[in-house]
């Protein structure tokens, strides 16, 4: 009885999955509004977003900021640049990526102030936590490193936005991210910088069935679609936190 029930259930899921595969190409990846708003603001971004203005965004991240080994154009930084250029006409948007794979926050933090001095971005998106979680770095050391890094970058004169770990169901039995997620939230609150909750957003997509993140070998296509959606969500988040109204830009133009 029981196994029959399970079989029909599995059959149902298979049908649902194949139906999903035939669905139109446009990816649905809605994000609940509360994940795309922040109490913290991005004043430097707000100041840069004006007709004829220049918005320089620097992404500091690990391998989950690229697809495969180094593809950053179809990864979220590249997507973010394109979408922001679209949404903010008349503003010269540049997103560059400082790829720092296999570095803990503690190793990276002392270099960040200097990096900002050299590149002079309006906004640094610091994507971190994954490698620390994999190495099970002491949570307090991680928090202190974040504290130091965010502080140094703000002093160097840029807005900062933190981005946390990816939701990765397949490796959940091996990587425990909760302490790192918590500490990123704490530091973001302390420094009053926005936190882009990539983990919660991706988990939402997985649960809603937008993406099957459990899939063992989905190829590069899934990664590209996920990153496109991340870029979209991130652009909305940045614009919201900077309190920019893109419609006004259009009128002034």
């Amino acid at each position: 009885m029981r196994s029959i029930g399970r079989l029909t259930l599995m059959a149902g899921l298979l049908v649902a999955a194949s139906a999903r595969a035939e669905a139109p190409v446009v990816q649905s990846c809605e994000v609940p509004a509360y994940l795309l708003t922040s109490e913290s603001t991005l004043p430097k971004v707000a100041a840069a977003v004006k007709p004829g203005g220049k918005l320089n965004i620097l992404v500091v991240g690990s391998r989950s900021s690229v697809i495969g080994v180094s593809d950053s154009t179809s990864a979220y930084p590249g997507r973010l640049q394109e979408i922001l250029r679209d949404k903010l006409p008349g503003v010269e948007v540049n997103v560059s990526l400082e790829l720092q794979p296999k570095k803990t926050a503690e190793e990276l933090a002392p270099t960040l102030g200097k990096l900002v001095d050299e590149r002079k971005p309006n906004l640094v998106i610091w994507q971190t936590g994954t490698y620390d979680a994999m190495r099970q770095v002491d949570a307090e050391d991680f928090r202190n490193a974040l504290d130091e890094g965010v502080g140094a970058m703000k002093t160097a004169g840029t807005d900062v936005l933190l981005m946390n770990l990816q939701y990765s169901p397949r490796t959940e039995t091996m990587i425990s991210g909760s302490a790192y997620l918590d500490n990123m939230r704490v530091v973001a609150q302390q420094h009053d910088v926005p936190l882009f909750d990539r983990f919660a957003i991706m988990r939402q997509w997985n649960e809603n069935g937008d993406f099957d993140l459990f899939s063992p070998s989905p190829g590069a296509e899934l990664a590209k679609r996920v990153h496109d959606c991340l870029g979209r969500a991130l652009s909305t988040f940045v614009i919201d936190a900077a309190h920019v109204n893109p419609a006004e830009l259009r009128i002034q133009r």
Binding site: R6, L9, M10, L13, L14, A16, A17, Y34, E39, S62, R63, S64, I67, G68, V69, P101, K102, T130, Y131, M134, R135, Q136, V137, D138, A139, R143, Q166, S168, P169, R170, T171, E172, T173, M174, I175, S176, A179, D182, N183, V186, Q189, Q190, R203, N206, E207, G209, D212, L213, F214, S215, P216, S217, P218, G219, A220, L222, A223, V226, H227
Partner: protein, 416 residues
């Protein structure tokens, strides 16, 4: 806790006098009705519950996750598990110490430690098998960074030795090493507890305070620290032991006072409200920043005082409203829980294994909310069925003769 003490801790001295060593009443004395006292079913019930909750919390989130207590306050099932383990271990081996002497009782404790160690290594082997499979079959460019976690497979020599030293512990395998260390120190704790109970508890509190002051820890491999710091978590274990050896009885007046009740209720409500702000970010701003900065982070590794207090409040209320002679404890509906609690080491290991297996099924067959729920429920059914099987075997083996009975004593009363 008051009536826990009445039934369990009460008869210890009387029984020890009444039954001379020749009768060899061993650990199983707790399991079976002895001298008119029945086994404290509430302990089994809540340990069973803790095992179920630990299993559910180890699986990816699903509907059942919303029924686990960590969503409603600071403490979670681990606190319950460690406290009850301390309680039962002290009760069983404390009695053995009185009847058979310190040396024999210590030897039995070390035998138990060995069993738990073997169980841990067994689970590690299964874990290795699972991730080796994942490593060879999983190819998702989205997660190329996360797959770096499998790099340790490239040096199995180091990894396996570190695992045997309890320094390399994969996710979800932190409870047993903690329990091994706690049990290892049970003989001196018990020895002192039987002479100076309050001093032992005071020493335990002092060690806890020192841990926070001087940041004591055990290091882990490849880096980091033990996820459950034994220097801090020993407090719950020793507190459980203290309650078992008469502390609970002495606290009965405090526990039955209405002041305790209202403080507990107020604290639980406050904790619930704080946890609510984690899940409903819209009300997050209602939490004053001052409180937030004082309170966060709530440290699980070092058993934050807030967590310990939350557990105490839960326990105080439970003991007050759930009496040991509540007829529901005998109802068939609670049988599965109680049986799981009675075979806790086996069921704990099975739970960890089933959590691995559950992840595996979800990954290989299909995900989806329904499948998640099915996996959780099947796991609980399997755990209950296994517990039923162990109970049956023990009953049959006990009928078979006294030899089988004494051989099984550790299984019955060891109290993982």
């Amino acid at each position: 806790m008051t009536s826990v003490a009445d039934s369990v801790a009460g008869p210890v001295p009387a029984d020890a006098v009444a039954a001379p060593a020749a009768a060899r009443p061993r650990a199983d004395a707790v399991t079976f009705p002895v001298a008119g006292t029945e086994r404290e079913l509430r302990l089994d019930l809540f340990r069973g519950l803790a095992l179920w909750l630990i299993f559910i919390d180890h699986l990816p989130p699903n509907i059942l996750t919303w029924f686990t207590i960590r969503n409603y306050g600071f403490s979670d099932a681990t606190e319950i598990f460690i406290f009850i383990s301390g309680y039962t271990a002290a009760f069983v081996y404390g009695r053995a110490m009185l009847e058979q002497g310190t040396l024999v009782a210590s030897a039995r404790i070390f035998k138990r430690v060995w069993q738990i160690y073997v169980a841990h290594v067994f689970l590690f082997t299964i874990f290795l098998a699972e991730i080796s499979y994942v490593a060879t079959s999983f190819e998702n460019p989205l997660y190329s960074e996360e797959m770096g976690i499998l790099d340790f497979l490239k040096q199995p020599d180091v990894t396996i030795v570190q695992a045997l030293l309890l320094k390399f512990r994969p996710v979800n395998m932190d409870v047993l090493p903690l329990y091994i260390v706690l049990m290892l120190f049970l003989p001196p704790i018990l020895w002192l507890m039987q002479r100076r109970a309050d001093m032992t508890l005071a020493l335990s509190v002092a060690l806890y305070a020192l841990t926070w002051e001087f940041d004591l820890y055990l290091s882990a491999y490849p880096n980091g620290v033990w996820a459950f710091n034994p220097f801090a978590w020993q407090l719950l274990f020793v507190f459980g032991a203290w309650c078992a050896l008469g502390g609970a009885r002495r606290m009965s007046r405090i526990l039955s006072s209405p002041v305790t009740l209202w403080i507990s209720v107020a604290y639980l409500l406050a904790a619930f409200w704080v946890t609510l702000t984690w899940y409903i970010p819209q009300i997050h701003h209602l939490l004053p920043k001052v409180i937030e900065q004082w309170m966060y982070p709530i440290n699980k590794t070092d058993l934050d005082v807030l967590r310990f207090a939350h557990f105490l409040a839960l326990a105080a209320i439970t003991v007050r409203f759930l009496h040991k002679d509540w007829p529901g404890l005998k109802s068939p509906w609670l049988r599965p829980l109680i049986m799981c609690g009675q075979h806790s080491l086996e069921i704990f290991c099975l739970g960890v294994f089933l959590a691995f297996a559950g992840h595996f099924v979800l990954a290989e067959v299909s995900g989806g909310a329904w499948m998640h729920l099915m996996v959780s429920i099947s796991g609980i059914v399997i755990m209950s069925a296994a517990a039923g099987l162990f109970s049956w075997y023990k009953r049959v083996a006990t009928k078979g003769g006294t030899r089988a009975k004494s051989a099984d004593a550790d299984f019955a009363g060891g109290g993982a």
